[in-house]
């Protein structure tokens, strides 16, 4: 009873105010109100997302000489891009980095999240250990990358330790400025992006399901494969999207960690920009964008992401 009277009395003044105010939104038809409410975000997205992408698409059809860019509608950039073996090599390299990084971050991320969610019993320790995972993120990613160099270098800590331990006789050359160091840096930078969504989905798994599996005779491994992994799939997919898009769009990590010896699509674009070849850079960007969107749409086929938000 009291609830009812309260709600009635709180509605009444609002209704009155609505009637008085000449600028009230509620006087407009619902459709107009809806459009107005979505307008600010729509404008932001239009100017900062749609317009730049449209611009890139437009520029990708422009022409360029050694010293000038001219507006045009020609397929020269795409033709050059799609017929050059370098492009395929670089795209292959990008996909290779993305796949290897994805696989490693998935294994590490899943293990860390599993440990945090199922083996750490108290919430306090879960929070403490979780914050511990984020410590590397308190510094800039450039610093995190560069700090690998003295560690992995020819006379770096890793090599000198291994030599003094007698494991190797001469420094390992592939530790730094190689695919190994690039992927190592990627894994270091992006594992947390895998841990967070997986941990989040794992925390939502009802603990009685684990008990029910145990009651039904499932071993630890069977519970993992039959219950935990299927229920964690949305988190795995979200983490995968993060990692794959970040790695595919990256250029600075590849440049620093490979000592400019390896290339991915991001570096191709940045080189074009450095040479003021904007149309060519734009065309490469468009192809990269399409590739990434394809990858994401494939990943989204396996999970209903809306259920997770």
């Amino acid at each position: 009873m009291t609830d009812q009277t309260q709600s009635i009395s709180s509605v009444a003044p609002a209704a009155k105010a609505r009637a008085k105010s000449p600028f009230s939104l509620s006087r407009l038809p619902d459709a107009v109100t809806g459009w107005l409410l979505s307008l600010p975000l729509a404008l932001v997205l239009f100017f900062f997302l749609v317009l730049p992408i449209a611009m890139i698409v437009v520029v990708s059809f422009w022409g360029a000489t050694e010293f000038s860019i001219y507006p045009a509608f020609q397929f020269d950039n795409y033709e050059f891009l799609l017929t050059s073996p370098v492009t395929y090599q670089v795209f292959f390299n990008t996909v290779k980095y993305a796949l290897i990084t994805w696989a490693i971050t998935l294994v590490i991320g899943f293990t860390v999240a599993y440990f945090l969610a199922f083996h750490v019993r108290t919430l306090t320790w879960q929070i403490i250990l979780f914050l511990l995972c984020t410590i590397p993120f308190w510094t800039s990613n450039i610093i995190r990358m560069i700090s690998w160099i003295p560690f992995l270098g020819r006379n770096g800590i890793a090599n000198s330790t291994l030599i003094s331990m007698g494991v190797i006789d001469e420094p390992l050359e592939w530790l730094l400025f190689s695919d190994f160091s690039v992927i190592l840096a990627f894994v270091h930078l992006y594992t947390l992006f895998m841990v967070v969504p997986i941990f989040n989905t794992m925390m939502r798994i009802d603990r009685s399901l684990i008990e029910a599996a145990y009651d039904n005779g499932a071993s630890g491994l069977q519970t993992l494969t039959n219950v935990i992994i299927p229920l964690t799939k949305p988190g795995i997919m979200i983490g995968s999207i993060f990692v794959v898009t970040l790695v595919m769009g990256d250029f600075i990590t590849v440049r620093f960690m490979s000592g400019s010896q390896k290339a991915n699509v991001g570096r191709l674009i940045s080189n074009d920009i450095a040479l003021l070849q904007y149309p060519s850079a734009a065309a490469t960007a468009v192809i990269l964008l399409i590739t990434v969107l394809l990858v994401i749409s494939i990943l989204l086929r396996y999970v209903d992401i809306r259920k997770e938000l």
Partner: protein, 330 residues
């Protein structure tokens, strides 16, 4: 179905750190009976059930099922199966896959296990929903699936942890009847944890009232309701008055109190002041203040009450038959 076996708790104890959750209880659950562990929250009834199920380690003491000591066996090898409070159905598996889960874990071939799962679903009348996901079922339907999943393991004892608490009152009574019927048909023991007296009285062949980690009283529903042996049981089971008589506590059923407006020649045992009158349909409850004897409740049938209605504020005279007053343990 598996043969029903006697289940025996021998000084079974559960200690969490400093607190004793279950204090050396002894009880024999006879084969093929429906038993209810009844008590308020924190009385140790759930811990007891979880120890029987093997989801909680036993601190000291033993659990013996049909002559086998199962104290330290894993849940799936005990001959028990558990139905969880919120059913704990796997949300990513269809109904039939949920039921077939334990068979899959054992490595039974797919056609064989699905056939068996469908048989179990037929038993609980859910065959038509085999392909659905748990989220597409109502609470009552989920419960039937959970039952089928527990029964496919062919347990000697089925353990039910507050199985009806998630249902609405109407469905609760319906499922109550079905549980009892299923138990009769299968002939295995059901051990059912509940905090609802009505549920325990309606279902059980054997009620075990627990309090503070101990068994207060165990027996048939009629014995427990009619003749509670401790004050706790008298109060918890409801429908009883506890009053002091000659220095000892006695329990007296509220419906055995006779209420009169005038002191008769048989001599009233107590006089009381009517504080409140509650109409409950078939009965009318009087809240009485009997001075030194404390607050009492008298339950009159509506027929008796409305022959001669009693007003709030009236003084009434109470009598009862001596055999209705049950001495309580101090």
């Amino acid at each position: 179905m598996a043969k029903s076996l006697d289940l025996e708790l021998a000084a079974t104890t559960k200690i969490y750190g400093e607190t004793i959750a279950v204090d050396a209880i002894n009880h024999k659950f006879a084969a093929g009976t429906y038993s209810c562990l009844l008590g308020p929250s924190g009385c140790g009834k759930s811990s007891t059930l979880r120890m029987i199920a093997g989801h909680e380690s036993v601190s000291t003491g033993d659990i013996v099922l049909g002559g086998t000591n199962i104290t330290d066996l894993p849940p799936a090898r005990r001959g028990t199966a558990m139905m969880f409070q919120n059913y704990a159905l796997f949300p990513h598996l269809s109904v039939v896959d949920n039921v077939a889960f334990s068979q899959k874990m054992k490595g039974v071939e797919k056609p064989v296990r699905l056939k068996k799962a469908r048989q179990l679903l037929e038993l609980v009348d859910m065959a038509a929903y085999a392909e659905r996901l748990p989220a597409q079922l109502s609470g009552g339907q989920q419960q039937r699936v959970a039952l089928a999943r527990a029964l496919i393991t062919e347990p000697s004892v089925l353990l039910l942890d507050e199985p009806l608490s998630a249902l609405d009152p109407f469905l609760r009574i319906k499922m109550r009847l079905e549980l009892k019927k299923l138990q009769r048909e299968l002939g295995i023991s059901f051990i059912h944890v509940t905090h609802s007296q009505d549920e325990a009285l309606a279902l059980a062949d054997d009620i075990i009232v627990m309090n503070g980690g101990r068994i207060e009283q165990a027996g048939s529903p009629r014995d427990v309701f009619n003749a509670p042996t401790t004050e706790f049981v008298a109060r918890f089971i409801g429908g009883h008055n506890v009053l002091q008589q000659k220095g000892a506590s006695v329990a007296l059923r509220a419906d055995r109190l006779k209420v009169k407006k005038a002191a008769g020649d048989d001599g009233a045992l107590l006089t009381a002041f009517v504080k409140d009158v509650e109409y409950l349909g078939s009965t009318v409850n009087l809240a009485l203040d009997a001075g030194g004897a404390g607050d009492l409740t008298a339950a009159l049938t509506d027929e008796v009450f409305f022959q001669d209605p009693i007003e709030i504020g009236a003084t009434v005279f109470l009598t009862w038959k001596p055999e209705d007053a049950h001495q309580l343990a101090a």
